[in-house]
Symmetry: C2
Subunit: 357 residues, 2 copies
């Protein structure tokens, strides 16, 4: 276990894509040594911008993602794509009809595409995504695009691991508005109404803006940001520097239009993402978001470390199995059983390697 | 805290619906004393049949659920409904256009409808659903219907808490087949193709049966069950007793047709559910599923107990906050930080009340 990451790291540092692929596999599947590997990569992370692309199935997330990749490549940036969506063409093996071509591009280490398994990650999908994104970040990608379907709690948690989150909607997704209410509105930094030439697009834009509270009959200058933060008068120089800044330094998610299949609206999205990142940096929201992400990361590791120790311990397994029939006979309760296991778990909390001392 | 559940329990035992509603609230929101309450209710659980109704948004899950409720009421059974779906009419405040009427029915304690919040349940949605279902079970409901949208990991986990799981599909849900691949197939005990008079219904039935492996050119007699279990020749008397049993005593999920809006196909679904439950009992699959559920329940309680102890501890919070800047400066890693917190957590594993001794 200690030598594997070292050999791997040399190739990884040399920018070799097979080493990247191997590192991602080790981390994604939590193979032996994955934590040591991530620990070593940690000092190289923090440079990439992480962008979440979410929305209901069929909204065109993959097309938007592919076009963003092309835009960033034209600007000379390296791009990693994590597809965390079982219905994504990325996952299904096709990107704009040709995954092979994309993988050929990936060989020049300018683009790397990886689909994430959406099941079986006991530690949680969001944790796994964050870890793989860390690997891509350490490898030197400038942008990491995380595509995830915007329905379901774990999927929203995935979106929350990004610096900026784009929500893609289509006029047909009438039901989507219902779904949006269940969490997506709060995580959106930018909305894209895709297939904007179809009937209902104006209505959808209107609905989203209504939900954002922009059209409640309150004049714009006095509207607090959607996070409920009070407005402050901003330095006019700042406003000039950033055309999208409102008079305050709060962020109001723009509602953009796009026809992704024709490439329309993608430059506007790229620009909005740049403005959003500038806003995050200017207001130190980036620092706060990343601090929160680091906190969640440590908490996840503490909890998964506990789970690994307690459930791999044979004595605990034995105690658990012995108590199950009693619980079923109602002679004890699940709470009492859990309490006993917790009390006995204290001895498992020191580092396993210390057992030998 | 110790007296509250006792007073509540007397009313609960007397079958008073306000006591039920209060018990559900205490448990759903993990208010103080919820664990003592659940512990006391534990001996009364285990009688209800739990039925999961899942499927993509718009498949008609709520209509199917409402009609099942009516069927069970006609048979004199008490029914609890847990709606764990942000897009469900149950949750939105309307059941077949009239939630008030349903709540009036609920006052005779024959039907009780409760929508579950799908966010903010830190211990997990599945755990919260199971706990509330335990409360309904203890109150004496014969059937507990759990309606959940079949997209997303946490939602699938919810479905997994049921004895029998019904997956509702509609011809329009072409994309749904993709989604199905991501986990729904494995949890389905019964399929219902709803809106079966619409174009594409036969195609959908066909697709589902293909995915079930029934039509792969292998003759039916030699096809193993979808769990990959080998067939055994069964007692012919059993087959006669149960018209739906295949020659083996494995269960092949039937693919039923329904037009729920017209009430068509619901009796067939009710019958199939009875057959499935008979199968579960006959083969002791019920015992195994409930054993597995008890095991998961204890594991959840151990893990949530750990989380509560470690994250509510001020010293741990302080340690965590102090380490975050070092992690950001890359002078330590999230893994080292987690290790330190885990080692220090051992002292928190004995019961909090023992502190006073």
């Amino acid at each position: 276990m200690p030598r594997l990451p070292d050999a791997l790291l040399a190739d990884f540092d040399a920018g070799k894509v097979p080493a990247l692929a191997r590192a991602v596999s080790i981390v994604e599947n939590h193979r032996e040594g994955y934590d040591a590997l991530l620990g070593k990569l940690h000092s190289r992370t923090g440079r990439a911008r992480r962008i979440g692309i979410t929305g209901p199935p069929g909204a065109g997330k993959s097309t938007v993602t592919a076009l963003l990749v092309a835009n960033y490549r034209n600007a000379g940036l390296k791009v990693g794509v994590l597809a965390v969506d079982p219905t994504s063409p990325f996952t299904g093996g096709a990107l704009l009809g040709d995954r092979v071509r994309m993988e050929a591009i990936a060989l020049d280490s300018g683009v790397y595409i990886r689909s994430m398994a959406t099941r079986g990650s006991l530690g949680g999908l969001a944790a796994a995504t964050r870890e793989v994104a860390d690997v891509l970040d350490a490898f030197g990608f400038d942008r990491i695009l995380i595509e995830t379907v915007g329905v379901g709690q774990s999927e929203l948690d995935v979106a929350r691991t990004a610096d900026s989150t784009v929500v893609v909607l289509v006029p047909e997704s009438g039901d989507a508005i219902q779904t949006l209410k269940a969490g997506v509105m709060e995580i959106a930094d930018i909305f894209v109404v895709n297939k904007a030439d179809r009937p209902g697009a104006d209505r959808l834009r209107n609905d989203v803006e209504l939900m954002l509270g922009l059209r409640k009959g309150i004049s714009f200058e006095n509207t607090p940001g959607h996070h409920g933060v009070e407005l402050k008068r901003a330095n006019p120089a700042k406003v000039a520097r950033d055309a999208a800044a409102t008079e305050s330094d709060s962020w109001t998610p723009p509602v953009l239009s796009a026809i992704a299949r024709e490439g329309k609206g993608i430059q506007e999205l790229t620009d909005a993402l740049d403005r959003h990142f500038a806003y995050l940096e200017r207001t130190n929201t980036l620092g706060e978001r990343r601090r929160e992400r680091t906190r969640e990361r440590v908490m996840e590791l503490v909890e998964s470390g506990f789970r690994r120790r307690v459930w791999s311990d044979e004595e605990t397994q034995h105690t658990l199995e012995q108590m199950l029939p009693d619980i079923e006979k109602r002679s004890t309760t699940p709470f009492n059983a859990a309490e006993q296991i917790l009390e006995k778990s204290a001895r498992l909390m020191s580092k396993p390697r210390e057992k030998g001392h």
